[in-house]
Symmetry: C2
Subunit: 210 residues, 2 copies
């Protein structure tokens, strides 16, 4: 891996292993990290995490949202694959988060302080300030903030402390790379605009110049 | 499978495939269903769902909590294994829930209207009435209610409509089988008290007589 300075996280929700590995080999060096979610792990098995780790930092977007005992059991299964970071929900409360931090096994923890879908405005996003406080107190590495809601993202960036903000919602969900950066986002999570693109590497390199 | 009348859901958070299959063969006929969660799927692969389906109804406790597109991709991966039901979070909002219901592929949907850990009292559980309303409107088969908080469970049972209440928190987390039933719970989710028991089948049969 080269010394990458990109702030793009490629969210590769691909379920065909060969296609995923080929694309990761092509772009892995040119992005900050590759993010995968449950669909890929269900299709390819958890070993896909360490296989992809050859090409880039891997963020496992598990959106963990369970009781402490289950959180611990999930982390025990994931730590063998040595991802760079995992994404967890925070709304399940401080006991679940504390158990996760106590069992992170060297894996960075990114907490969901808001989501980019419209439904999240009802229960989740109104609690963003308190969720950010929880994440900071627990020692999280980062938080998730919406790349398609600049007002909320800007408010989150003011209270994030030393944590990094990872922004989904760019591209297919309406957010803009430069707009989200200007609103305080640190890393831009981009999915379909990369993996449905006929020239994904070119798209990434052009985006950073945009 | 015999015609089971049990209301016990055995929550088998076991990651050794042979031990899980052996125990499921032993007790599968004597419980309403077997529930598995991500630790088991991570350890054994998603095919464990259909393998266990030979012995009992299988409830996949995925606690899905993501944006609509990812919800859809998760269900596409799960439906090939034909579980009896999946458990999803509801707090991610109505768009995610609608996408799940539109893609359930014949799998029953159980929504988390509250959780049994103490941390859930901060953000999740105060919204139980509204979450139950969302689940009912969307056509969910059931909801999750705490088997260790009889007051909350009783309140939930009054507004559940035709949905079934599945109760974790029995045993290791402090709830009592008969107490949760008397508070309006329909199905009792029991984990460690079964799979850490030297005589799990005897424990189950005795519990129903208790």
């Amino acid at each position: 891996m080269t010394d990458r300075t990109s702030n793009i996280v490629a969210s590769l929700d691909i379920v065909e292993e060969k296609r995923l590995l080929d694309l990761s080999q092509e772009i892995g060096d040119s992005v900050f990290a590759i993010k995968i979610n449950w669909p890929t792990i269900l299709a390819c098995g958890k070993q896909i995490i360490s296989k992809l780790g050859k090409y880039s930092r891997i963020i496992c977007d598990l959106k963990i949202a369970d009781v402490p005992n289950t959180v611990n059991l999930i982390m025990k299964q994931i730590e063998t694959e040595k991802p760079y970071a995992v994404i967890t929900h925070l709304f399940t409360g401080e006991d679940s988060l504390k158990t996760l931090m106590d069992n992170e096994g060297g894996i960075r923890v990114i907490g969901v302080a808001s989501m980019s879908n419209s439904g999240a405005k009802k229960y989740l996003n109104p609690n963003y300030a308190s969720l950010i406080k929880d994440a900071n107190s627990a020692g999280c590495y980062g938080i998730v903030g919406p790349g398609n809601d600049y007002k909320l993202l800007s408010e989150m960036s003011k209270i994030k402390g030393n944590m990094k903000i990872f922004c989904p919602g760019i591209g297919a969900q309406g957010g803009n790379y430069r707009g989200a950066m200007n609103s305080g986002g640190d890393y831009m999570i981009i999915g379909r605009s990369i993996y449905e693109n006929p020239s994904p590497l070119k798209y990434i390199l052009n985006l950073e110049k945009s």
